[in-house]
């Protein structure tokens, strides 16, 4: 009875090299027979990699010869698995008559199979074919697609045409072959559906990678060219920052409110002097006088001086001086109070106000009195006015300024974030000018892990 177990050692599968039937050049096949087609580097004929006679499937003249940024044969580690770059193609779409082309790399691991990298303007994506069907709406390709709990928004649908190939491919690649491609984005991921001419649909999932990470993974020399523009699934560098800044802003706003409330509670806001006077505008003599003294205690605080005059289409100007009886320190200021009202064809109107209020800063403790001198035009009758002095009056303006200062940087980062998303969606099928599209695009935001 034959025993089981590895009786004979099976030799390892070796890398093959073929002879190109068109130009005689040597063609290396790195994928151990997984490749369906392989392109001769010398004459660019597409050869049948599965046929031992290596038939020529297509010849094409490469108008421009492209050099892959990751050289074929280079190996790099992605997601913990080592892959070898074995194929490179360029595909192109036409948008409003303008061609846009990008690069695709075929990566191979003999155990794990195939993976792909795409590159456009310095933006890279790590792409794997999906074996599970995402949740798409049949017939409406612009509807969002759900996959593994995430919603992907439609970005673009276009017909992609292969324009250049080199290396090996696990499908029957031809220059000129077309496929309808739809991209759905949920940054940093993108879901792509490809419909080939035989109507079969394949889905793949890509994740955005920076050129720096690609260079590191494949140990490439030099520097990657920096990306230009915003790519469809490029994660916003701002979204995480924006969230954090608004969170900090909320905490700081709470702090500001607490300080404001504290100030209002601590401030005495006490009336220390209140009196009413009458000013006779017809009297030509000296009108200045001084009030009784009143005491201000505690630290240096704001002092509010209010003037309420009974005016009717009249004005009064009061020269004030708040004088410290002991030190002689004087706050010299003047207040104009005027009030006019009437009734005309448009209705009743009024201008000015009979009530004036002014706050003096940081008045230290001490005994104070007011020196008052009213002025007005002659012949304006008797004007009575009340003077009220309030000690330790809280100034609310500082709180409002703090609110503004705290909120402005947060608003700026949100603005920059909206702008980033706007630039992203300008490249899509759904580009439109105007703030509304930018705002609605902003809600598409990012899905951070």
């Amino acid at each position: 009875m034959p025993e089981t177990g590895p009786g004979k050692t099976i030799p390892s599968v070796s890398v093959r090299s073929l002879s190109c039937p068109n130009c005689g050049g040597t063609v290396i096949v790195r994928s151990f027979g997984q490749a369906v087609t392989v392109v001769c580097g010398g004459c660019h004929s597409i050869l049948d990699a599965q046929d031992p006679n290596v038939q020529v499937l297509q010849k094409f003249k490469a108008a421009v010869k492209f050099e892959p940024l990751i050289p074929l044969g280079a190996r790099g580690k992605l997601r913990g698995t080592l892959y070898e770059a074995i194929g490179y193609q360029r595909r192109q779409i036409m948008v409003e008559g303008v061609p846009y082309s990008w690069a695709e790399y075929v990566l191979f691991n003999p155990y794990k199979g195939f993976r792909y990298l795409t590159e456009y303007n310095g933006h890279w994506n790590d792409v794997a074919p999906l074996r599970t069907l995402p949740d798409a709406t049949p017939g409406i390709w612009t509807a969002p697609v759900r996959y593994l709990g995430q919603t992907y928004k439609h970005f673009q649908t276009a017909e992609a045409q292969t324009v250049f190939v080199i290396g090996e491919f696990p499908w029957q690649v031809r220059v000129g072959e077309k496929a309808a491609v739809s991209d759905y984005v949920s940054p940093p991921r993108v879901l792509s559906s490809e419909t080939t001419e035989n109507k079969e649909v394949t889905w793949s999932l890509g994740e955005y990678m920076s050129g720096v990470d690609i260079w590191k993974a494949f140990s490439l020399s030099g520097q990657p060219s920096p990306p230009t523009g915003v790519y469809e699934n490029q994660p916003s560098p701002l979204s995480a920052t924006t969230k954090a800044i608004w969170k900090n802003c909320a905490l700081l706003l709470i702090g500001a409110v607490l300080l404001f409330v504290l100030n209002n509670v601590i401030s005495k806001d006490k009336i220390v002097y209140n009196n009413t006077y009458t000013f006779d505008t017809n009297d030509p003599g000296e009108h200045s006088f001084v009030t009784d003294t009143f005491e201000l205690t505690g630290r240096a605080v704001p002092v509010k001086v209010e003037t309420r005059a009974s005016l009717n289409n009249n004005w009064i100007y009061i020269n004030y001086a708040l004088i410290n009886e002991d030190t002689g320190q004087t706050y010299d200021f003047g207040r104009e109070v005027s009030y006019y009202s009437g009734y005309d064809s448009d209705g009743s109107w009024s201008e000015g106000s009979p009530h004036d209020s002014v706050v003096l800063p940081s008045v230290p403790a001490g005994h104070y009195y007011l020196r008052v001198e009213p002025e007005s035009d002659r012949g304006h009758g008797q004007i009575s006015y009340a003077v009220t002095v309030t000690h330790d009056h809280p100034v609310a303006a500082w709180f409002l300024i703090a609110l503004g200062l705290l909120v402005v940087p947060a608003v700026l980062t949100t603005w920059r974030s909206i702008n980033f998303e706007h630039r992203r969606w300008q490249e899509s099928d759904h580009a439109s000018s105007g703030l509304s599209s930018a705002l609605s695009a902003f809600s598409s935001g990012d899905n951070d892990d």
Partner: protein
């Protein structure tokens, strides 16, 4: 008698041989081989045989696997994408001409959608297989997928189709041992 699986004889002397109309054996690139062992769910299996299919986009392997409880299934390897499936006895199955791309069917409580139709033929066999007759002309395989990792195939080799249902699996999850070696890897 196989000390591992107790019931099926693993014949290592039956080498890979070509069948059907192929001019030559296609290049063999699968990391699996006869006697490779692995794990699916909480059962161990060993690879005992294979069928190589070919079609216009290349080929794939259907490896015949036997579990340690005696049951058997298929581990398919298409460009290193792996799927384990089992024959399912379902009485009402669509005719080949009716199973069009995009059609939906529900088996075992899972909704499937037809994702591809492949015209293939046998290109080679090796080892122990559960049936004898394999020299067929073109066979139509209809592949279906679900919104989870499920996979189904309708095999139209005969008049009555055979349904296989299974799941896509990752290479790492199979925990394969005794795989082939590749030069440079």
């Amino acid at each position: 008698m196989c000390a591992f699986c107790k019931s099926i004889l693993v014949r290592t002397d039956v080498d890979l041989k070509k069948v059907g109309q192929v001019a030559d054996l296609p290049p063999d690139a699968s990391p699996l081989q006869i006697n490779t062992e692995g794990v699916y769910g909480n059962r161990s299996f060993v690879v005992v045989g294979r069928i190589i299919y070919q079609y216009d986009q290349g080929g794939w392997n259907e490896w015949h696997i036997v579990f340690n409880d005696g049951s058997d299934g298929w581990l398919s390897d298409a460009q290193d994408e792996y799927m384990i499936s089992f024959a399912k006895n379902i009485s009402v199955l669509p005719l080949e001409k009716d199973a069009k791309l995009g059609n939906s069917y529900q088996w075992d409580g899972i909704p499937f959608t037809v994702t591809s139709r492949t015209d293939a033929h046998y290109a080679g066999v090796e080892g122990e297989l559960p049936f004898e007759y394999w020299d067929k002309q073109d066979i139509v395989f209809v592949d279906l997928r679900s919104h989870k990792n499920d996979f189904a195939t309708l095999d139209y080799s005969d008049e009555t189709p055979v349904l296989y249902i299974g799941k896509a699996v990752d290479f790492d999850d199979l925990r394969l041992m005794n795989t082939r070696k590749f030069e440079g890897w």
